[in-house]
Amino acid sequence: MITLSTKPLTERVEAVGGLVDMAAYENAGGYEAARQAITKSEPEAVQGLVKDADLRGRGGAGFPTGVKWGFVPKGDAAGPGHKYLVCNADEMEPGTFKDRYLMEMDPHLLIEGMLIAAFAIGADKAYIFLRGEYHESFKRLSSALADATEKGYVGRNVFGSDFSVDLVIHRSGGRYICGEETALLNALEGKRGQPRTKPPFPPASGAWGRPTIVNNVETLCNVPGILSNGVDWFRDLGIGNDSGTKLYGVSGRVNRPGLWELPIGTTIREIIEEHAGGMQEGYKLRGILPGGASTDFLTVEHLDLPMDYGSIQAAGSRMGTGTMILMDDSVCPVAISINLQHFFAQESCGFCTPCREGLPWLEQLLIDIEEGRGQPGDLELLDGNAAFIGAPGNTFCLHATGAMEPLLSALRYFREDFEAHIESGGCPYRERGH
């Protein structure tokens, strides 16, 4: 009996103990899934498998991947011209370090996933939109791409079939908003990275006005496994309602910060206590940003929740990127809120007023509270304005909504800390020497 993998994303890296090159990747059966699909299967059949496997987007929003692929118009309905596949490798969500790992350690897995995805949607042009500061990822991906091109896996007549696809790496000029898929498309077109109006959604009108699918790195890396091992295998990998594995990460004052591929639906407690080795001595856990800076805080009362889309959402937050940031008891909740709002204010694209003007205003109010200039009524001002700016629809894109998630939840869970700042006219954490 063959035992199928339980770690389809990281097993080769673990076996090799580092970068998986072309030889190691092919030894482990790499590029077989793409070869079989492209030479023997049909695009609709591949889409069907990914849909049935219930793969959901790993870029933060969790949209079902196969369903999204199905929105790309087929045949004459697409009109004349290119179709595009774009890999969102702009990883810039503070606290997130999973896509970098995949690209630096197993670049061929991403290339193979992109080949299959391009075939499934009929794309003849594919781009990797890469974070500009990811120099090592760029080197390793470029070298893997050269090897794959030389072997005839990328370019004209892939695997000798009549399917051809160009794959190009675009290095970003650097701006968080470029991770938002419509801003990303403007950036890819060489413009300012401002979001576009939706609809039309990218599958109907994306890059250069043509049908385009944007998928996250980790999402695409899941595709080859689904084709080789099957839909049932993938669905059974997850513990609860969701399918597959997830790259979970922990940063902050734990004993072993890092990244682990685990069944999707593993509890927060297991990830922090077993895999990350628990909190460092002298530090107590107070807050958890479960999936990056733009997700609502959870607290110790949520430790036993499974890290899956539905459970974290039901608790009022989002699984987001699945890489969590821990706030320990030495960190001032007002100060960490300043840090977060500074990020969102700085990275606002400036297009709409509530975000461009509102975020710096909120940051300044938080600074006033932290530095002892807080007034009675300031917290109600924060509550009201954050709720207004955060309501989807009040701003042009979800950047501002994401910005308000950690603030509204900090005001809820750590209210007494905010109040203490105003009452005592300063930061109790600083006075304690932190």
Binding site: G95, E133, G174, R192, W208, G252, V331, C349
Partner: protein, 163 residues
């Protein structure tokens, strides 16, 4: 010499070739704007007004339009920078792990503030958002090198490796 060839003169043959190679992957010339600026900046460190005009001419677009793109992006520099660009992550995981103390140590050691260049032109200091190495926080990149697990004490040694 015509105005066009003079402007193209401001770019090296290698730069023009590299930009033209990018254009072959794209449906039109303007779409290469960001890649083109990255290519020119790679050797020259920053995008001068002269470089900006030359790139805009090469891509067939107004200089002002290219400048509005240049100023949107964090990694395109419209001012001269030092021999080394030091970018220190100030996002949330690095904050929790003490990047404020590292920043103070860097600024004290070099005698300049974030956003400034040392008078000898050795370093430009810039804050940067999450570098995707949060499990090894606090971190920074100097030029293209990622340096992790920073502490205030480790700064003098690290900086002495860049002259």
């Amino acid at each position: 010499m015509s105005e066009v060839s003079q402007l193209i003169e401001a770019l090296s043959v290698e730069e023009v070739d590299a930009i033209e190679a990018e254009i072959t992957h794209l449906p039109d010339r303007e779409s290469a704007a960001i890649e083109a600026m990255r290519i020119v900046q790679e050797k020259r460190g920053w995008i001068s007004d002269e470089s900006l005009r030359a790139i805009a001419r090469l891509l067939g677009m107004p200089t002002e339009a290219l400048d509005s793109i240049a100023t949107f992006y964090n990694l395109i520099f419209r001012k001269p920078v030092g021999r080394h660009v030091l970018m220190l992550c100030d996002s949330v995981s690095c904050y929790v792990m003490g990047c404020d103390k590292v920043r103070t140590a860097v600024c004290d050691q070099l005698g300049v503030e974030m956003g400034e260049t040392t008078p000898d032109g050795r370093f430009t200091l810039l804050p940067i958002v999450c570098l995707g190495a949060c499990d090894r926080a606090p971190v920074m990149i100097i030029d293209e090198e990622l340096i992790t697990h920073l502490s205030a004490d480790s700064i003098p040694d690290i900086l002495s490796g860049f002259d």
